[in-house]
């Protein structure tokens, strides 16, 4: 029997509130293969971030569990590196030092000082930040900060890379740039990635599979769409591609017909 790389089994989550428990997630089942890029998409408040936080180990599922490479996930760790929505760089450290903190934590004792330095510089170069690696976050633009955040996560050589709306706070052009960079990196490294997004184009462009989630409370997986577009994908070429537009339409239909937001239905 071949074991799945990452497996979410019957994951449910309840948050205690003053008016009784609030069921955010209900029986989420998902299997992810090594090297697969999976997007989670859904309306805001549908529990996408909760799923990611459970995989990261920051939340503990009330029911069900997660198995990564045959081990149960029950606490956070660098093998499940997270790229946070608002970069979460330490503002008192330079880009280099931010990555260094992670590298020291993961490779301390395993790599020599020189090797660590090269590894840090290599990762900053991957995200095209070599020119500004000794600047502090407040001297960097939003896109650059997020690049450093990605470099920090990549530098941990994670088994799964978790991205929580990584480009959500960026303007459209910067976002496109970063998506291209991410595809380029993904081409070389072939990481296993779970990305949360609310951007349909982003999901279709980047993913191997798109997991569409129903609305909360008690959100779960509605549909899963396999995206079989050939890689490397080019943004401009795909714009006229019927296959691409078909995928887009599928996701849009799910979001705006089957999972219209409750308040919109009422209106």
């Amino acid at each position: 029997m071949t074991q799945e790389y990452l497996e979410l089994t019957q994951v449910s989550m309840e948050f205690p509130t003053p008016t009784g428990p609030f069921k955010a997630l209900d029986k989420v089942n998902l299997k992810i293969k090594e090297g697969e890029f999976v997007s989670l998409i859904g309306h805001s408040g549908c529990g996408k971030s909760t799923v990611l936080n459970i995989v990261a180990g920051l939340y503990e599922a009330t029911e069900g569990g997660i198995i990564l490479k045959g081990r149960e996930v029950n606490e956070p760790g660098p093998e499940r590196a997270v790229v946070f929505q608002n970069h979460s760089l330490l503002p008192w450290l330079t880009a280099y030092q931010n990555v260094e903190l992670a590298v020291k934590q993961v490779f301390g004792g395993k790599k020599s000082k020189q090797e660590m330095k090269q590894w840090i510089e290599h990762n900053l170069q991957l995200v095209h930040m070599s020119h500004a690696m000794h600047k502090r976050p407040d001297e960097l633009s939003g896109g650059m900060k997020q690049r450093v955040g990605i470099a920090r996560a990549l530098a941990m050589e994670p088994e799964v890379l978790l991205m929580d709306e990584p480009f959500g706070a960026l303007d459209a052009l910067t976002r496109a740039h970063l998506q291209d960079s991410l595809m380029e990196i993904q081409n070389d490294l072939n990481n296993t990635v779970i990305m949360i997004t609310h951007d349909v184009d982003e999901a279709v462009l980047l993913s191997d599979r798109i997991v569409m989630m129903t609305n909360g409370p008690a959100a779960t997986i509605g549909e899963i769409l396999d995206v079989t577009l050939a890689r490397p994908r080019k943004r401009l070429e795909l714009a006229d591609d019927p296959q691409y537009n078909h995928y887009r339409a599928e996701v849009l239909k799910f979001l705006y017909e089957r999972q219209r937001k409750p308040e919109e239905k009422a209106a």
Binding site: E75, G77, P78, V82, N86, S88, L90, A102, Q105, R136
Partner: protein, 339 residues
């Protein structure tokens, strides 16, 4: 040549350029306003205060004569400087005499035992300032060494904070005068030695200062630590930072502004408390100077006390500026508006 001369004049008189330009008549009104606010207004404020002081002071008659005005106080300051110099001269003469005497003794009999006695003249106003500064800084540093770690730990852990909080809230408002008798009794019972390194009176006022200035640093540090953003805490969790790395890489840097707010409040309190403690504990220092002058009750006393009051104020201000510079130096955010 003239250009160089002009530049060097500009350099030397840089601060007065706005005035010079103004008198030359080529000053736009916009430049004058910030200058007026930054320099003019405070000067006007001080002058107004001095005016009221000199007008009202002579009207208040006491058993020691009228309250001195600014000019008399300034004169008293001059007397205190003179007294200080006279005392130093005496001290120098004393050591000189002693040396000559010892040399003579040695010349007569090389094996003679020579004693070098310290000078025992009375401390002047300026000696008292040094004693006070030394006491306050020792108490403050000791308090900070306790308050910062305890603050960090209680900020990190809600349970510990809940346990410590009532104690803080009860002891925080206690006046130094209430602590002093207890401290005095405890110190005289515990600190017994034939050759004490410190005076008991010094230990008394130092510990009283410490007890009173623990709290602001402790509370502010705890609040600062407790309000670290969840994102940064998550980063720390994902990286599996150990306790010490977490504290030194994430907790301390992000709570430095709050910590310093606490430290500055603490130092202010320490300085206020010290003067009161010195008056009561009879520890040499500015407080004792004020008390002695009050007991002395000569016609000069009020003026000399007023000099002390102003000096106490100026030193308190200076101590705060010192903490501010320290904060600017350790703070990672050099652009932050720290005031």
């Amino acid at each position: 040549m003239t250009a160089i001369a002009m530049n060097s004049i500009k350099f030397m008189l840089g601060w007065s350029m706005p005035f010079l330009k103004f008198f030359k008549g080529d000053i736009p009104k916009i430049n004058l306003k910030p200058l007026l606010i930054s320099m003019g207004v405070p000067i006007v404020g001080i002058l107004t205060f001095l005016m009221f002081w000199s007008a009202l002071a002579p009207k208040v008659e006491t058993s020691l004569g009228a309250i001195p005005g600014p000019l008399q106080v300034w004169e008293k300051f001059g007397t205190l400087v003179d007294e200080h110099q006279a005392e130093r001269e005496k001290e120098r003469a004393f050591h000189e005499r002693q040396e000559i005497r010892n040399e003579k003794k040695l010349a007569k009999n090389p094996d003679a035992e020579v004693k070098t006695r310290p000078y025992t003249g009375k401390p002047t106003f300026f000696d008292q300032i040094w004693t006070s500064l030394y006491t306050v800084l020792t108490g403050f540093v000791l308090a900070s060494l306790i308050a910062i770690p305890v603050g960090i730990i209680s900020g990190l852990n809600k349970t510990i904070y809940a346990g410590i909080n009532p104690i803080i809230q009860i002891f925080k408002p206690v006046s130094p005068l209430a602590w002093l008798p207890i401290v005095t009794m405890v110190v005289s019972a515990m600190y017994v030695s034939d050759d004490p390194m410190f005076d008991k009176s010094f230990i008394n006022s130092m510990i009283t200062v410490m007890l009173c200035c623990l709290w602001p640093t402790l509370i502010n540090t705890a609040v600062g630590v407790a309000s670290i953003s969840q994102d940064l805490k998550n980063v720390s969790k994902v990286l599996r930072l150990n306790f010490f790395t977490h504290v030194f890489k994430i907790v301390v840097p992000s709570s430095i502004p709050m910590m310093f707010t606490g430290l500055r409040l603490s130092l202010g309190i320490a300085w206020m408390v010290l003067i009161a403690a010195e008056m009561l504990a009879q520890n040499p220092g500015l407080g004792k100077f004020v008390w002695d002058e009050f007991q002395n009750g000569s016609s000069n006393s009020l003026g000399r006390i007023m000099v002390a009051v102003i000096v106490i104020g100026l030193i308190g201000f200076m101590l705060d500026r010192m903490m501010l510079s320290l904060q600017k130096w350790v703070s990672w955010d050099k652009n932050a508006d720290i005031r």
